[in-house]
Subunit: 151 residues, 2 copies
DNA sequence: TTTTTCTAAGACCGGATTGTCTTAAATTAA
DNA sequence: TTAATTTAAGACAATCCGGTCTTAGAAAAA
């Protein structure tokens, strides 16, 4: 798995918050969000706390409370969220896990992976919450988990 | 982590086997290999068993036994090894983990991730054990874990 | 045949990640 | 002030992966 589950939940939740705060001012309830995105409430809360302490979100307790973007949606990138939750390892580590791998001592796939990794970085960096939610609305893209089916 | 540790160990071991069987005929001892690559013997054994049951290696018990490539080194790609150990998920799954994501119902990063994923796939597919070991020798590339330092 | 050298196979443990639950604290509304 | 709503925080359980260990079994050598 390239991104941890916590990280993908963090991205989906951030997109949800962006769309909701477009509609109405104020905070978005974590309880309501967890229901609509089909993510465990307590797990989602923990993830959003990480984004809050990273300075990407603010929160408010009590009735009418919830979370909101701390910065403008055009100033938060998906890269910010990935780094806040999963850290920088994805963009710095050797694909084969060789500790000293670098330009001086490259491994067998160092150059290829370096290029791919850079594209991944630029992809996350170029997508802000604003542009991504706009894209979602225009192209009717998916950004939520489906309800789990009972089997 | 893009590849599991088991998968990277499988790649490193396969490259080692290719280089050793270049020198002498017959089988490569797992015990000796685990020492030189600094990988746990029993863990390496488990990984090599997966590669054996996937048809990439053969094994022989007893003295002078060990493992060997079942096919020619130019017919085994790094992709074969990745798929044998980690499966196809890396090359098929949605980056955001949305179950139904595809061309009909794309997620917000579907197209970008699709392109990157394809490059990753082609990189692994284009590198055979033969070409990669040749590259390692010519360019003096790293393909083994360093000995762990006592601290 | 017996011993030694190996791989085969699977039980087992520890730590990280994922996910659940409970309690506390803050804020609003009545 | 009191009650209701909501996040904060942390304990806790379950699951998966990485790694270790033990026993079995096969093949070669003595």
């Amino acid at each position: 798995m390239v991104l941890s589950k916590a990280c993908t939940y963090g991205i989906l939740a951030s997109l949800y918050i962006t769309r909701e705060t477009n509609k109405k001012t104020g905070y978005v309830s974590i309880g309501r969000m967890s229901k609509e995105l089909h993510i465990s409430f307590h797990f989602l809360t923990k993830i959003l706390q990480e984004l809050t302490s990273a300075g990407l979100l603010t929160s408010m307790k009590g009735p009418k409370g919830g979370v909101a973007l701390k910065q403008d949606a055009k100033d938060i990138t998906l890269l910010d969220i990935v780094i806040a939750i999963d850290g920088m390892e994805l963009f710095s580590e050797c694909l084969l896990g060789l500790p000293g791998c670098g330009n001086e001592e490259p491994c067998a796939v160092h150059n290829e992976w370096g290029g791919i990794r850079e594209q991944l970085y630029q992809t996350f960096r170029s997508k802000t919450l604003a542009t991504t939610t706009q894209q979602i609305d225009e192209q009717n893209l998916r950004f939520a988990l489906p309800e789990l089916l009972d089997s």
